[in-house]
Structure formats: structure tokens, C-alpha cells
């Protein structure tokens, strides 16, 4: 697993929007329990950033009927907040479009500018996140 910092306010919805790529809301069975792609963990003292607990080598199918606009809207806010660049967002959008109907590894789409902040489990624990 890798531990990716993400603004606390959008952490849960980001994980949900990833899951919706595999199973769009309108195709979701009432019996489907999960609604998130990965867990989110918080910190008692660090209010700004939570961590997405993302598998590093698991692939997720992108349903042909998936609408990535919710995910893109969240990512767009990261551009507005200057956490990722417009080019990095454009690259992610292009990758999602190209991979429609195929499987992809969400961890491989972490933008370059965000990679220095990705932590291991040990680092996340030492930083005080409840892993």
C-alpha cells in the first residue's frame, strides 16, 4: 500500500469518484456494500491532509459508461489550489479517456508534483496517522 496525502475535505469523495469509474452510480446494484476505491485515514492534529491508502499494484476497470466528470472536478480544484499543474490534469484526463473499457492502476496516475509527498506505511504511522 502507498499513502497519498489529499485535502481532508475531499478525501472521501475522491475515493468514491474513483470507485464510480468501475461501477457508475446508475449501474450500481443495491447489494453493493462498498462505495469507495480505497480507505481514507485521518490525523488527530493535521487537519489539512488525510491519506488515501491506495494499493500500489491493483488495477481497476473503467466502465465504458463511466462518467469521470466528478473525479475531474475534484482534480480541477487541485489545479485551482495549485497543488497539481493544468498539464498534469490534462494528462490524467487523456489517460482516463484512452483507458475507457480497460483496466488501469490509479496509483500510476499520481502526478509528478505530488509524488514527493507519497508515504510508506511506516512513514504514515510515524507521522501520526492511525493506520
Amino acid at each position: 500500500m502507498i499513502y497519498i496525502p489529499i485535502a481532508r475535505a475531499v478525501a472521501e469523495s475522491f475515493s468514491e469518484s474513483l470507485f464510480k469509474l468501475a461501477i457508475p452510480s446508475h449501474l450500481r446494484s443495491p447489494s453493493t456494500v462498498t462505495s469507495k476505491y480505497c480507505d481514507v485515514i485521518h490525523h488527530d492534529d493535521v487537519n489539512q491532509f488525510s491519506l488515501l491508502v491506495m494499493p500500489e499494484d491493483v488495477t481497476l476497470p473503467i466502465h465504458v459508461a463511466a462518467d469521470p466528470s466528478e473525479l475531474i472536478a475534484l482534480l480541477n480544484q487541485f489545479v485551482v489550489d495549485e497543488k497539481i499543474t493544468q498539464q498534469e490534469l490534462d494528462d490524467i484526463i487523456a489517460a482516463l479517456q484512452a483507458l475507457s473499457g480497460q483496466r488501469f492502476n490509479p496509483a500510476q496516475l499520481i502526478p509528478q508534483s505530488w509524488l514527493p509527498y507519497v508515504m510508506t506505511r511506516e512513514q504514515a504511522e510515524l507521522a501520526g496517522y492511525v493506520v
Binding site: I2, P5, H43, D45, V46, Q48, F49, E56, D57, D81, E82, K83, N105, A107, Q108, P111, Q112, S113, W114, L115, P116, Y117, V118, M119, T120, E122, Q123, L126, A127, G128
Partner: protein, 271 residues
């Protein structure tokens, strides 16, 4: 596993390298620096409860002073040499992350591995709770980014790598002057300890520098990565009014410490 490997060695990703200043610029700055250095002797304030921050910065600015006066034999750090800010009620805590950052700069410049080891042992033995109050609201927990910085300083001073040395969280932009100051100091120190810096960290300092065009510290740190070192040196020599975070019971001495720190930071980029 491939991604984890990439991340472990990914300091080059989304990162910035330093630029070297011109020797002529540094020569001019050095003469001003020596004049100002002669004006500040010893610990800037022995009574203020922000004393440790400014003592650390003064030390990093080249001022001769005894930083050990702020540290107990146990390794614990204190806001002032009398070690009683919390007990007297002059501060709500005996030390803070801001103080630790200033101290870390002093340790970095004096290469005082012994003082760092003492503090890190103390911090590790106390699960990173390093001051009073000890529990609950207001407890002094070393924040993740400060842990990461101290871990990298440990490696730099040849004390070995610490498991927390790889921690690095993005900085949250702030409009509070003292937060901007500490974030800039942390990013600048990180830059001394790391070959390359996360681009986002540098972007943040440059944004702060743009917001306050008279802040020569932020201009200096930004210029080391984004260019414009000559302009930053000129601003420092012009010496506008110090930023609002330069305050306390010894404002004039803090102003000197702040100027000397910034000047020495730039001078050391030429080494």
C-alpha cells in the same frame, strides 16, 4: 512494488534544483553582512518566550552564541534559557514546533550533531511529545513535516537515517505572517538537506514572496530556486522595514538576527 521503488527515489520528480549566485553579488553582500554581524552579540533575547526561534536563526546567521543554554541535559528544548515559560504562564507551552525549526537551523549551521542526537533521543523516547503540557489539548507533538526535517538533518549530520526522515507533507498555504515565516524556514532548511526540492514547496515560498515584496527572506529563498538572486541581494541591502513576524521584546535584535540569517543563507549558496 515498482511504484514504491519509484516513490522511494522520487525526489527528482516534480522537483527544483538550486541556482548559484554570482560571486560579485556575494562580495557586495559580504561587506554589509560583516557590518551587521558586528552589531549583534550573544542570544538575541533571554527573556522572550520566542527566544529559541530567534537564537537559532541568529546562530545560523553567524552570531556567536550558546544555543545549549536552551537545552536540558535530557535533551529537552525550552523557549528561553531560564526554561520556565510554561511554569510562569508566560507561554501556553514549554516549547513549540516553531521554536524547534529555529533551533534546527542553528544546529545545522553549527553542525552540532551532539545536540541534535540528544533532542532526537528525547523525542523518540517520548513518542514525539517534547514539551509541556504533556497530554491532551495543547500538547507539544513534533509535527510530521518537522519530524521529516529533523530526520533528514540527522542524516546530514551523519547521525544515521531516522525512519521518519522520509516524511514530507505538502504545506498548506496560510495568510498568517508567522506561519508563512516558519514554512519558509522549513522549506529553506529542507533545501539545504536535499539535493532537489518539491516544486510545490518552492512555488509556495515564491507566492509568499510575491505577496510581500519587501520580505527579503522569502525573496531570497525563492530566488535560490527560481532565479533573481541579484534582486534578492539588492532588496536585502536596501533593508526595507522588517516583516510583521519580526516582533517581540527585543524587536531590534530580532531584526538584526533576521537580516543576518537571510544574508548568511545567501552567502552560503556560493560555497
Amino acid at each position: 512494488m515498482r511504484l514504491l521503488f519509484l516513490i522511494a527515489f522520487c525526489i527528482a520528480c516534480g522537483s527544483k534544483e538550486k541556482l548559484a549566485p554570482q560571486a560579485d553579488d556575494l562580495e557586495i553582500l559580504r561587506s554589509y553582512y560583516e557590518d551587521n554581524l558586528a552589531k549583534l552579540k550573544g542570544i538575541p533575547s533571554k527573556t522572550d518566550c520566542d527566544g529559541l526561534l530567534w537564537a537559532g536563526l541568529a546562530k545560523a546567521g553567524g552570531v556567536e552564541l550558546d544555543l545549549d543554554a536552551f537545552q536540558s541535559d535530557s535533551g529537552e528544548l525550552h523557549r528561553r534559557p531560564s526554561k520556565d515559560c510554561y511554569e510562569t504562564g508566560d507561554s501556553r507551552s514549554s516549547v513549540s514546533n516553531d521554536m524547534i525549526v529555529g533551533w534546527a537551523w542553528g544546529v545545522y549551521y553549527s553542525k552540532d550533531a551532539k545536540a541534535l542526537e540528544k533532542f532526537l533521543q528525547f523525542a523518540e523516547d517520548n513518542k514525539m511529545i517534547v514539551g509541556k503540557p504533556k497530554n491532551g489539548v495543547g500538547e507539544v507533538l513534533v509535527k510530521p513535516n518537522v519530524q521529516g526535517l529533523l530526520g533528514r538533518l540527522s542524516y546530514h549530520l551523519k547521525l544515521g537515517s531516522r525512519p521518519y526522515g522520509g516524511i514530507r507533507l505538502p504545506y498548506q498555504e496560510s495568510n498568517k505572517d508567522y506561519v508563512k515565516h516558519i514554512q519558509t524556514l522549513m522549506i529553506a532548511l529542507d533545501g539545504e538537506l536535499s539535493d532537489k526540492m518539491p516544486e510545490l514547496d518552492i512555488k509556495l515560498v515564491c507566492k509568499y514572496a510575491k505577496e510581500d515584496k519587501d520580505d527579503y527572506l522569502m525573496a531570497a529563498v525563492c530566488s535560490v530556486y527560481n532565479g533573481g538572486i541579484t534582486d534578492a541581494i539588492n532588496l536585502l541591502i536596501e533593508e526595507p522595514e522588517p516583516p510583521s513576524y519580526v516582533r517581540g521584546d527585543q524587536k531590534e535584535r530580532y531584526r538584526l538576527a533576521h537580516w543576518l540569517f537571510t544574508a548568511n543563507y545567501l552567502l552560503n549558496q556560493g560555497d
